[in-house]
Symmetry: C2
Subunit: 430 residues, 2 copies
């Protein structure tokens, strides 16, 4: 029996909003936001959408009016009482009051700042400018909206049963991955797939399927809203935007060389335990670890987010040993280009040598490869990055030159300052 009120209510929506909550975002954005809010509340930054898969001409696929409606809707959102209660009252990584009363007061009054949207060469030029803690919160919803609108443009032409079979196939595909992972002893895997998910509902389904299929081996989700709704642990630490902006703000080469450690020094003051995770690859992992201060070797673990993951983990293991640490006490979080087979492989390779955990992203929440003609639903490499801070361009080198970002001359300067030599190119899947 149809609930008439629900049906009438549903027909009153002017749009079907993709992002319906300010906490439909990655947990680490909020953690970083709090740190930025305390240390750099008024630094002017620019974030920009970058489609690394230029063959996908987003501005031709996605209607500008629809995109504006979705972005405007996001600007109308504010933190609900329940969301605020959850953030204030929850225990994250065993710690109460992870978010300070000052940050929460600010966040409760927060609305996302204006955006700038233009079409250029078949792509959307979408940028956000303003105070760092405000602008940074656009990243995840902007990506989610673009990804989902592109999917909707494809799904619009499909029949009812064709749609049902599409999702049936996607579910089957995901469940087969869950079954591949189920036998792994001591597996720890979390959902990191918010930014490039197929859709909110699909991510929500994927998270629940992982939970039913893997039980306690599924450690949680990076998505705060889903964590809240499904009573799961919210997972995450920090990201490249911190060293990239700290570096862009550096006054000279000496300050630049110090910048990545300054980030972690600020972080060290705020967090302990499982939140003390090094992200070493922004300007080359090898050099970063070689020059790292000793207190960093005492941190809980490392996140490997570019380059060959096994090689990255081996580098970390050698580094811990060189600093007198026992790698078996350390955590390695793999979070780049993962799929079930890769997880099985890395799990076998590092089991017993370090503590291992996986932050599984796009191939968990958007593996629609092979499910639509011409791969029209396959995920692609869309990012939303800090491109400048206080007028200075940001630079990212990473352990894969194809993921490098920034003006050529600045990239050369950074390579010199951070002693980065030849790098191996690796295909950027998503």
């Amino acid at each position: 029996m149809v609930d008439i009120a629900t049906r009438v209510w549903n027909h009153k929506w002017k749009i079907d909003p993709i992002v319906r909550s300010l906490i439909d975002t990655d947990f680490y954005k909020l953690l970083m936001c709090q740190s930025v809010f305390r240390n750099h509340p008024t630094k002017q930054v620019t974030f920009s959408l970058i489609n690394r898969t230029s063959a996908i001409r987003l501005a031709e696929l996605v209607d500008e009016g629809e995109l504006r409606e979705q972005l405007d809707h996001i600007r109308s959102l504010s933190l609900t009482r329940g969301e605020s209660t959850w953030l204030r009252g929850n225990t994250f990584y065993g710690k109460r009051q992870m978010f300070t009363p000052e940050f929460m007061d600010w966040f409760e009054g927060f609305r996302l700042p204006p955006y700038h949207l233009e079409k250029r060469d078949g792509q959307y030029d979408l940028t956000f400018e303003g105070n760092w803690p405000e602008v940074m919160l656009w990243e995840i919803p902007a990506l989610a909206v673009l990804m989902e609108l592109r999917g909707r443009a494809v799904l619009r032409d499909m029949g009812r049963f064709e749609l049902q079979v599409l999702y049936a196939r996607a579910m089957t595909k995901l469940w087969e991955k869950v079954q591949m992972l189920r036998p792994l002893d001591g597996l720890k895997v979390a959902d990191f797939g918010t930014r490039r998910r197929h859709s909110f509902l699909w991510q929500d389904w994927a998270v629940q399927a992982m939970y039913e299929g893997l039980g306690s081996a599924f450690t949680g989700t990076s998505n705060c809203l889903i964590a809240k709704n499904r009573d799961l642990e919210a997972i995450g630490t920090n990201a490249h935007e911190m060293p990239m902006i700290y570096a862009a703000l550096a006054e000279d080469d000496a300050a630049l060389a110090r910048a990545p450690y300054d980030v972690l020094s600020d972080w060290h003051e705020e967090h302990d335990g499982n939140l003390r995770i090094i992200l070493p690859d922004t300007y080359g992992t090898e050099g970063f670890l070689r020059r790292a201060p000793d207190w960093l070797a005492g941190w809980t673990g490392i996140r490997i987010d570019s380059g060959d993951p096994a090689e990255g983990a081996e580098i970390a293991i050698r580094w811990w040993r060189s600093r007198g640490e026992d790698p078996r006490d350390k955590l390695v979080i793999f979070s780049d280009g993962l799929d079930a087979a890769k997880i099985v492989e890395l799990h076998a390779q590092f089991l017993g040598r370090v503590k291992v955990s996986f932050g599984w992203g796009t191939m968990l929440t958007n593996d629609f490869r092979g499910l639509a003609p011409n791969e029209a639903l396959a995920p692609f490499s869309l990012v939303c990055k800090a491109v400048s801070a206080e007028g200075h361009p940001t630079v990212k080198l990473s352990d894969n030159p194809r993921k490098a970002m920034g003006p050529e001359s600045e990239i050369e300067r950074y390579k010199r300052v951070f002693g980065v030599g030849e790098q191996v190119e690796r295909e950027v899947v998503v």
Copy 2:
């Protein structure tokens, strides 16, 4: 938003009834029932459930109490006003008032007669005795109940997402078949899968998927309730129970030899056009056609339901030619052991030589092979047959000795009377 009344209402059900309507049955049962109601309203017959897949020990899988509840529920059903209106007002095969006012008056007051249920050797001994037109209507609901209860026994232990993925896989499998059939020019295929369906909801889904995927190449469903609900054509003609019971009622060998033609003679009086379909295999196709009266060659077509289907069609083509008929004006309905690949093959082989149509059964509505451990959901060969009439055992020979039924001595007598020699054994899939 949950419709509270619906939820409370749903929780008031004592059981989840499998068969909820007297017209959740095959259309040909109603056509035959009308013929029997007119010609043999008080003949005493016995129908019996026979599990030809003895390895599946139904009485160990299915709880007797649950089975009785379902059967008792079916006995509580009577024709609704809307169902009656649909049967009275509908056009079947272009004909109005297919069902006579006399038959409809009787059917409106009809309830299914008692059943007899015992356990024996791990199987259920389920029989129905009484007036032919009453007892015969047990066949389809009895089969559907047993099939679905066996499925439920397996599904009970599955998790929520495991269940969703199970159906996702089944949908994908079926959709791939639909896609195999879509390119076939001039295809005509109908759903004949009520009796051994996985479940009512699944058959309903399969029918809708076929309709969306194949459009007008999908000609309808044998299931009256689904035809009514989904505004489709109800499809079917007649079945083996007619010649089997006519034969069992024959007084001597001469009457026995005449019996299969008497059935069709009665049918000829009642129906024309697409309902004049010969089912020739009850006592061997070759002999049946050789001895057939000439008026039968004028019928619209033939249904091939056992033996090698291509061979059966070739026999029919040769027979029509020998009687001066043009096979291109004739309809061949294939209805035994079909799956998509077989349909593609037969369609190619007979396109342009005869009119071809497919009555697709179990592999359309119950292809859960490979979807549960130990093939616990794979379909199996359950039938519900007339086993005696007025105290005389019935006999079926068919074109496959593995489908033969009846006491050994009677089988020998029938073989002699109908001149059936050596037959090739073929595996009975479902």
